[in-house]
């Protein structure tokens, strides 16, 4: 946590209201995101209870599993979910623009430009909380290997069509969400706490209701009071007034309301199965419908407040201006979406259960590079973020007090002007340390040449001055200019090329070989309850 964020949090505690932690929005927000508010069943990992999902804040689609332990009902839920999410994804897959990509030519081994297409925009999924991200991954993992009756007529419990495809997309989005700065799949609590500092801990910030209460308290109350009520207040029946954003539900709700509703549903179903004549069956079917509707209403009552809170949070975020470099990162998300669209179209198999050594190393390298890029870009986009870096001695801003022209030694002397910058910041500069400033969006580098006599830092500008003997106009700061230099680089170098997975060396177990089908877990008593 930077000193600026610590200060913002202290101010939030003091004033009882969240403080801005950013002056711009650091993540891309689609103008038509798909919001997904899922709930799961307590005690059974990955058993969905229901969800509100959709792109229209006034007309969410309610999906419910009236008996989460029934696998058929679970599949029905997933099929319905696929029917909402896949058309949304498809609607972005068609509209493309021409683009270029650098690829290694398999014959010559040279890097060549290839004409290709890039989706003009990408679909964006929003879940309320970080636990929602994990559930997206879990749903992806549990569905992408399922076989449909069409794929495998012999499979004992075929999945509905399109469910495996849903699993592949959820897996892709879940993995992409691990890349720093990506915006394909976002958790609203992460987004909000990135842009506002509250007077509570980071752990407490994961409660969407409490977080929103700090940021946007109801009139007449302080954020701290409102947050406390959002977290703890219960009605006369002992139910939370602000249900948790899920996917986990409140135990009081599970025990007092949900469990009896399940029981009534089970009884109605058993009764229907035991019906002996059509008249009796009709009556019992009506009773089952009533029982099912009761569960639906319960699920809606616990997801709808969260649904509304998510849109309220999105409104707050839409109101912030987008950071200058956000679009560039979103382009990478579009590449990611386009790439997966192409893999699906090409009929490639689903993502493997585990990454092989090379894929894992590549992913880690990408994420580390994106993390460094994100940190640099956020600082360049946002003076508040840069202030934190300046306080940490990783950047400095000041006024140019002197410019002396100088030249490099050698056959063709190039300009190496010496610029004196007076600053109140205390950068941690080592001798000949490299520093960078943004010049028309491109980094210009300089090296620290020492301290000036009258105070101030002397910097030797090294590049971006053109090819001539005289620097191009505007490429060297002038006396009186305000400048901001960073000690960190603005752009990240590409990492080393790793071997292909088939060339995995002996130190890492050699090539992974053909994937071997793993035996399914043996059926235990718990599986056939």
């Amino acid at each position: 946590m930077s000193l600026i964020t610590t200060l913002a949090r202290l101010e939030a505690v003091d004033s009882g209201c969240a403080r801005a932690a950013a002056t711009v929005r650091h993540r891309h927000l689609s103008d038509r995101p798909l919001v997904f508010v899922p709930l799961i069943t307590a005690g059974e990992a990955g058993a969905p209870l229901g969800a509100l999902v959709g792109t229209d804040r006034d007309a969410p689609r309610l999906l419910v599993v009236p008996q989460p332990r029934d696998r058929d009902l679970r599949f029905t839920f997933l099929a319905e979910l696929a029917d909402v999410i896949l058309p949304y994804l498809d609607s972005y897959a068609q509209s493309v623009e021409a683009a270029e990509r650098t690829e290694t030519d398999p014959e010559t081994g040279k890097r060549v430009k290839v004409e290709t297409e890039l989706c003009a925009d990408a679909p964006q999924l929003i879940v309320p909380s970080r636990a929602g991200l994990d559930l997206v991954r879990l749903l992806g993992r549990s569905t992408r290997f399922r076989r449909t009756a069409e794929q495998d007529p012999e499979a004992p419990y075929p999945a509905p069509p399109r469910v495996p495809l849903l699993g592949r997309w959820l897996t892709h989005y879940g993995e992409r969400a691990r890349v720093p700065g990506s915006s394909l799949l976002l958790a609203l609590t992460d987004l909000l706490s990135r842009h506002w500092a509250t007077g509570q801990s980071g752990l407490e910030d994961q409660h969407l209701g409490a977080l929103l209460a700090w940021i946007d308290p109801p009139a007449g109350t302080s954020g701290a009071e409102a947050a406390r009520r959002a977290e703890l207040a219960r009605d006369a029946a002992g139910q939370l007034l602000c249900p948790p954003a899920g996917p986990a539900t409140d135990p009081a709700f599970d025990n007092k309301l949900l469990a009896p509703a399940f029981e009534r549903y089970d009884r109605a179903r058993t009764a229907l199965a035991a019906a002996e004549d059509p008249v009796e069956a009709d009556e019992r079917l009506a009773a089952l419908t009533v029982a099912e509707r009761a569960v639906r209403e319960l699920v809606e009552s616990r997801t709808r407040p969260t649904w509304d809170a998510v849109w309220r949070g999105l409104d707050l975020l839409w109101a912030l201006p987008e950071g200058a470099r956000v679009a560039e990162r979103w382009t990478r998300d579009r590449w990611s979406f386009t790439g997966h669209r192409d893999r699906v179209l090409a009929g490639e198999p689903p993502q493997p259960r585990r990454d092989d050594a090379v894929t894992a190393a590549n992913k880690l390298a990408t994420r580390e590079r994106e993390q460094a890029r994100l940190e640099a870009q956020e600082a360049l986009d946002d003076p508040l973020e840069m202030a934190g870096r300046r306080l940490a001695g990783e950047a400095f801003a000041g006024e140019v007090t002197d410019v002396v022209m100088a030249y490099s030694e050698g056959r063709r002397p190039s300009p190496r002007p010496l610029v004196t910058v007076r600053t109140d910041d205390e950068p941690r500069l080592a001798e000949r340390a490299k520093v960078f400033r943004s010049l028309g969006g491109r980094p210009q580098s300089a090296e620290f040449a020492g301290y000036a006599d009258g105070g101030g830092l002397v910097l030797r500008i090294l590049d971006k001055m053109g090819r001539g003997k005289e620097p191009e106009p505007g490429s060297v700061p002038e006396k009186g200019d305000r400048v901001c230099f960073t000690l960190f680089e603005h752009e990240q170098r590409g990492g080393a090329k790793l071997p292909d997975p088939e060339e995995t060396p002996w130190t890492h177990g050699g090539p992974p070989g053909e994937p071997v089908a793993e035996a399914p877990d043996t059926v235990t008593e718990g599986d056939v309850l």
Partner: protein, 445 residues
Amino acid sequence: MTTVDFEPGAAAARATDAILHDTLHGTERGVVVDSPPGAGKSTLVVRAALELAGAGRSLMVVAQTNAQVDDLVLRLAEKDPELPVGRLHSSDADAYDKALDALPHVRTSAKAADLAGLPVVLSTAAKWAHVTVDEPWQHAIVDEAYQMRSDALLAVAGLFERALFVGDPGQLDPFAIVGSEQWAGLSYDPSASAVSTLLAHNPGLPQHRLPVSWRLPASAAPLVSDAFYPFTPFRSGTGHGDRRLSFAVPSDGSGPDRVIDEAAGSGWGLLELPARHTPRTDPEAVRAVAAVVRRLLDRGGAAVSERSPDPVPLTAGRIAVGTAHRDQAAAVRAALADLGVSGVTVDTANRLQGREYDVTVVLHPLSGRPDATAFHLETGRLCVLASRHRHACVVVCRAGVTELLDDYPSTEPVQLGTLVKFPDGWEANHAVLAHLAEHRVTWRP
């Protein structure tokens, strides 16, 4: 001093011979050597390099930092000035130590092709990762292999047929700046150390251990061995009395002077400040560290060791200050500058790895903290800080760390399939503190 059953020089020589035999004549593709702090790892690398080159095997050497590579080149040239050596470097300015330019048989280049055919080529893992070859090197030596990440080894392992991996398992593990839990437990977890991946896939590789620390004095080796290497003990190459630290100016009775005398006499000193929760750059503790350094220099220290019969003056260059965080190091540097001290190395544990000084002054990682996080508890961090010295180590710490350790159990999630590292940071910290308590000087600045 020698004991009947253990003559350090002979034991070290036996270990080295076995390592060289396996490397030159063994059948396995790899050999792993664990080396405690100051056990002659670099000497071993240089010797193995010379023998492999002498046997006509093309050899590449992989180290982790440019400073390590340059140091190895200089050592190689010192041992065998006639051996043609290639130093592959990055295309940045100041990519390598300019001292290398003065060596006639060392060729430097940023392109691997320029160095083709030389018996030995050295570079960093990061640079090697960009090299492609048709014909792999017959042999590689990977230095500081425990500090190399598994993914870095993956990038270079295609360049060689066989390799000698040398490193210190007790020092800081490599780390990633983003979460890598999703691969925890996989044998090839890219954020794990190169050696753990290597051994997970090749459990049969011969593993050796250097048994003697030539750096640590007899006062420090048992503690470091017990606290950080309980299953692979080592001993010091010198005995009690082989090394002495004395000061011309007598103590003025202040806390820094008393702790300096304690450390000079026993090898360890703990300067304990009153218990208090402080910011990371605890101004009192930082000033106390600076005051100890100032007094070390002012009091005209002289070190006697097996290296020379005459006392060697304790100069700024032979003193280091170790901290956990970079901002702490910056604060100590500023405090030293205020006291007019220059030339003393002040750095974090990560950057002090592999370095050696006569006296170290350490700001304890847990000093003044309200919590004990995994970062501050990491065994390797404390091990690095407590094992850089040839004579004495002074630790500056606020009281109450023992209670802190007991109040905060480890809360890191348990990952299936990962190797649990023993001893854990909690235990190692307790072991070190228990020993330091015997050399405690309490001081209220």
